[in-house]
Symmetry: C2
Subunit: 214 residues, 2 copies
DNA sequence: AAAATAATGTCAATGAATTGACAGAGTCTT
DNA sequence: AAGACTCTGTCAATTCATTGACATTATTTT
């Protein structure tokens, strides 16, 4: 079983394929060709075939791809066939918003715990789950088989807390703190730097105005 | 004035440079070489020089870069020297969380309005700003010189609302709805697809486990 | 059942992004 | 003020990603 490393460029496109396939599926469509997908998604058919082929042949010549099958295969590749247990560290506005976001459960991401170091929040319930002090994290992570931690705390604390979580045995961190975490290679980090994203938007707005002034 | 198109790959890195420069600046550091930045940021010195050079020479041979100057230049490139007026459409948990996020103001992104179509929310105040019905959007956008709309509404509505906003004269959309918007070329869209991000994390966790089992 | 059609999987070509190398400009030391 | 040193800006080389082309295999039609 030869394994070639798959680039993050490809991985980044998978969720989008997954989303479109889910829509086709809901619409009751059974088969789809790379050309059809290409038209809908506005990417080249070649790229679609190339991307899918990284994981082996999901299609059939002369037929195309079976929507249901492809949908499930991509789901499996993305690890959506298994259940993840996640905790949220930081029960501020963003932490609470994420805790309330029910859709993640549909994909197997189960919200299990919510932590903060503000005593005023202790005991407050979100979707049935109480805010706990951060001292409880260690025991909670170990006893509840938590694999993902969502960091929605200020950057000053984020680096230290991340290191602790790694010690407790977490496997991945979804990082909303505006700082680069310092964790071992074997721990996966996915950053959501909202202000970076907003700055990119700002750049593109400015650039467009400059360009069109010419 | 020759203008070469700058790739989004470069743009995506600018906010991170900006962040590190801001930290160096706060630490009172006056100058920095591409090699030093390289060590701190874990990217190649060559890339740093290449990136900065897209916008003209900010450094000096034998000296390096002046932190303060570089910080401001990058800020200008990102359009942070001007003020943006933004409204948030969708006063649910995420919309409220973003509305409460004060740090954006520091960078010139001023939160001006909050809209929803749930009457129960009308009049609710966040940071002094009342939730308004979405029918008010058109007049509000035009009268208040709004250039950025933040979409935190369900995907079913997002596409239509985005089209309306474009008509009203918005220049950029920060899209948190899990759908691809359909807007003209001259309107900038920056997507924040949280579930895509979570799926990527999931993939990387799964992949690492598979890899290390070998 | 054969011919025509459709569409994948894959190889090759192109294009984009990153890295490496170094000449030359500027700084620092003595 | 001269020489040693530093570090950028930039060109070239390399690596990575995307696109194009097509042989092959399956499907559909007649």
């Amino acid at each position: 079983m030869e394994e070639k490393e798959i680039s993050q460029a490809v991985i980044s496109r998978l969720p989008r394929y997954f989303r479109y396939l889910s829509e086709l599926r809901d619409a009751g469509i059974e088969r789809v060709s790379s050309q059809e997908l290409s038209d809908i998604m506005k990417v080249t058919a070649s790229q679609i075939r190339q991307d899918f082929n990284n994981f082996g042949g999901f299609g059939q010549q002369g037929y195309g791809y079976n929507v249901e099958f492809l949908y499930h295969e991509i789901g499996k590749i993305l690890g959506l066939d298994r259940t993840h247990h996640l905790i949220i560290i930081g029960a501020g506005n963003l932490g609470q918003a994420l805790a309330n976001y029910v859709n993640f459960e549909r994909r197997g991401f189960l919200f299990r715990g919510l932590f903060d170091n503000n005593p005023k929040l202790y005991g407050k319930k979100i979707r049935g789950i109480e805010v706990q002090p951060m001292e409880n994290m260690e025991v909670f992570v170990k006893e509840n088989n938590i694999d993902i931690a969502v960091l929605t705390i200020p950057k000053a604390e984020a680096v230290t807390v991340a290191e602790q979580l790694v010690e407790y045995g977490i496997k991945g961190i979804w990082n909303f703190a505006h700082v680069d975490l310092n964790v071992p290679e074997n721990i996966q980090v996915e950053n959501v730097h909202l202000s970076d994203s907003l700055m990119k938007l700002s750049y593109n707005i400015s650039r467009f105005e400059i360009d069109s002034a010419k």
